[in-house]
Symmetry: C2
Subunit: 437 residues, 2 copies
């Protein structure tokens, strides 16, 4: 069965994935003579850099997500279909989905990345990933529920397992999450849980390398380490988590930490999709592309964003970092090229312009690597706030996130610490729903 | 095992349920010489009158929920435990929970009400209740997901089943929900789903009685009917849903409606709890109490709010309506009486003061029955807005709900149409999570 899409005579560009790359491309293409079809398994775009604030109950999901349909409300050549993609059939120029077959003239894979557990079944079974809003909400619920259970757990050891958190990976996600949890412990815990001893709550950040924030400058790494330690986070450098059974975290050094919550921020790999030749797939599941984002071995299939591996940008011979900035610029470049191609103009090879990196650790504490300037502290923090605010999709989201931040900054307290569980249909005779914990 | 609560020498009042009644009582009692223990299966208070706006993506859950701990942050004699209650043991003055045993000097049951399917297994198995935030979110996801599926469903009949909604029950919840859905169809659908024919979307409101809003005046019922019909809602009066198999709704008149979504707003019954003698339970599972909220047959157990049935208020010989106002006044009355008792003062029997009823149907359309005045239309609508705004718990919630409403009023559009699914842990080898639909 064919998915219903009108045959308008326009060339059809099918974009798989509504992340930064796919969205930027779609926004560009709808202005041109293409039929743009966007497929995503969610009906919203999510702003991943702020997921950690959803996980720590600082922001609501709706503040960092935006419905894809609403973004393209006035674009008659735009079609959204909420669906997964089962497989690509390049020889037939179509892809299959549970909703039907979609034909394409050009296919753009903006699949993004997924959590990389490096094939470890234990991590997969017990660690908590944090790459999506659903996962961030799961983590939020787990943190809050475990605090509730800890309150009625008299045994010190068992209570430790409930209140302690181990974060694996010292990149931006790990650092920002550790900082936010430390702030939660400092400002919220004594007020909300006066019966718990906040000093019993340990936050561990385990980084395999010898420094934090490997993608950033040494000053940034030093400051981040200093900030985190001053906030009481146990930063463990040069050690590696080798096993986790849901209770005990084992490090390579032999150290063991008892904790019910291990958050996995230690690595990502490209999302996979059936139908792309394995010879086109590079390290970390990334799809090899040329300087015009064309997937190796295909003429009409492109890949952009975290899933793409381009080695033809002279400054990035090993491929670009898997960050939002690259994705946005790639989406824009491909969009422009597809429009230029229609106009018979030459294509422009992609060159990434690095505008710098930012990471925030807490109130007034952030690190910034800018092209000509590295700074840490308050200025970096303000910069971080504004960069993230303006990067959010939608005016209302910008306004509401800003108001939330101002509110939190003044009151040192949010009011989002709700454990909202999915509704499960009751069986007959059952009185109250059971608590899935 | 005993749940850990300090023995302070204060009399312990255990309140089960943090709804309107329980919350009001706790707020009163923490000012007195009691140890107040609040038990709830959720860690938040939910503002039920606005659930329908969560279901129709007009408000976020966090706007109408408030964390119970945050409300009592500065009360040293207050203890919250997030848990269900398994049974009461009146002879031992304790109750059992999965977390341990809780002893009480006074026990207050503020259990609230649950959806009443009148024992029909089909309704229980297929209809969607709307008494909690989790259920409202389930409904929101169902509405939005079904619209997505409808888009790729070429067959008219099957598509009808996906887009049509049947609401059972013409009380405030049914009326407000029908109105909100009609507005969604009018303002949102053509913009978000231009490919769907909005005129194909049917909203049915089925009311067994001959009029809507049985608890309100005839003018209110007439206006509500007029408003709903003018907004294109199919209001079916004097007919009753007798069966629903998940696809076909069968009415007593023989009429059949094909719909995947039947929302059950046709009745409530008291939440039940083990350990209260069946002789103390009245019609609709309500617990019979005297004018001081004392449960029949017990000296130290009280019931307030939706679950309580008091026939000793001269103006309400059949018991009070199960609404927020009654619950709030009962919580306040019981709180005062428990404080008076400590001071050796006489207890004051409960008398309900009805301040009026309000229901909103849409923009500028509401109905209001006030003690000396009934009004419909814009004034009632403004009144409704302010009454609900001020009744919300928490300054931030008030501010954010107000801003949300202003935003929606001006733009005729919210940006909350996100289908956020719970995270399910992936199994090894699985690539993408499956869609629970």
């Amino acid at each position: 069965m064919k998915i219903n899409l009108p045959e308008t005579g326009q060339k059809r560009v099918v974009i798989v994935g509504g992340g930064f790359a796919g969205l930027e491309l779609a926004k560009k293409l709808v202005k041109g003579p293409y039929q743009v079809v966007l497929l995503d398994k969610n009906n919203y775009h999510q702003f991943q850099p702020l997921l950690y604030q959803v996980a720590t109950a600082g922001l609501e999901p709706s503040s960092i997500a935006f419905p894809l349909r609403k973004l393209f409300q006035k674009c008659p050549n735009f079609y959204f279909r909420m669906t997964e993609v089962q497989a690509i059939h390049p020889e037939k120029r179509c892809l299959t989905t549970p909703r039907g077959i979609v034909w394409y003239d050009y296919l753009v894979l903006a699949l993004g990345a997924q959590t990389n557990f490096f094939g470890n079944a234990q991590f997969l079974a017990h660690a908590i990933p944090m790459k999506s809003i659903s996962e961030a909400l799961y983590l939020r619920n787990a943190i809050l529920s475990d605090l509730e259970v800890a309150l009625t757990t008299p045994e010190y050891e068992r209570r430790q397992g409930l209140v302690d958190v181990v974060i694996v990976g010292g990149g931006p996600t790990g650092v920002e999450l550790a900082g936010a949890l430390a702030e939660m412990r400092h400002w919220i815990l004594p007020k909300d849980y006066p019966e718990l001893d906040a000093s019993e709550v340990d936050i561990y950040l385990v980084q395999a390398g010898e420094r934090l924030l490997p993608g950033m400058s040494h000053e940034a790494a030093q400051s981040a380490l200093y900030y985190l330690q001053s906030m009481g986070v146990h930063v463990i450098l040069g050690d590696r988590v080798i096993d986790y059974d849901g209770s005990w975290v084992c490090l390579k050094s032999g150290r063991r930490i008892y904790s019910k919550k291990v958050i996995w921020a230690a690595g990502i790999k490209g999302q996979t999709i059936q139908g792309i030749a394995s010879t086109s797939i590079g390290p970390g599941n990334r799809i090899c592309v040329d300087a015009f984002h064309r997937v190796k071995g295909y003429n009409d299939i492109f890949a952009i964003g975290d899933v793409a591996l381009m080695k033809e940008d002279p400054n990035w011979p090993e491929g670009h970092p898997q960050v939002a900035q690259v994705a946005i610029q790639q989406g824009l470049n491909l969009g422009n090229n597809l429009l230029r191609q229609m106009q018979g103009k030459d294509l422009i090879p992609f060159r990434y312009i690095d505008k710098g990196s930012l990471a925030t650790i807490g109130r007034n504490k952030a690190v910034a690597d800018l092209p000509f300037w590295n700074t840490q502290g308050w200025i970096a923090w303000v910069l971080w706030l504004f960069v993230h605010l303006f990067a959010l999709v939608g005016t209302k989201n910008k306004v509401f996130v800003f108001l939330n931040w101002v509110w939190n900054y003044i009151t040192y307290d949010q009011s989002l610490r709700l454990i909202i569980r999915p509704w499960l249909r009751k069986k007959q005779g059952e009185n109250t729903p059971s608590c899935p914990e």
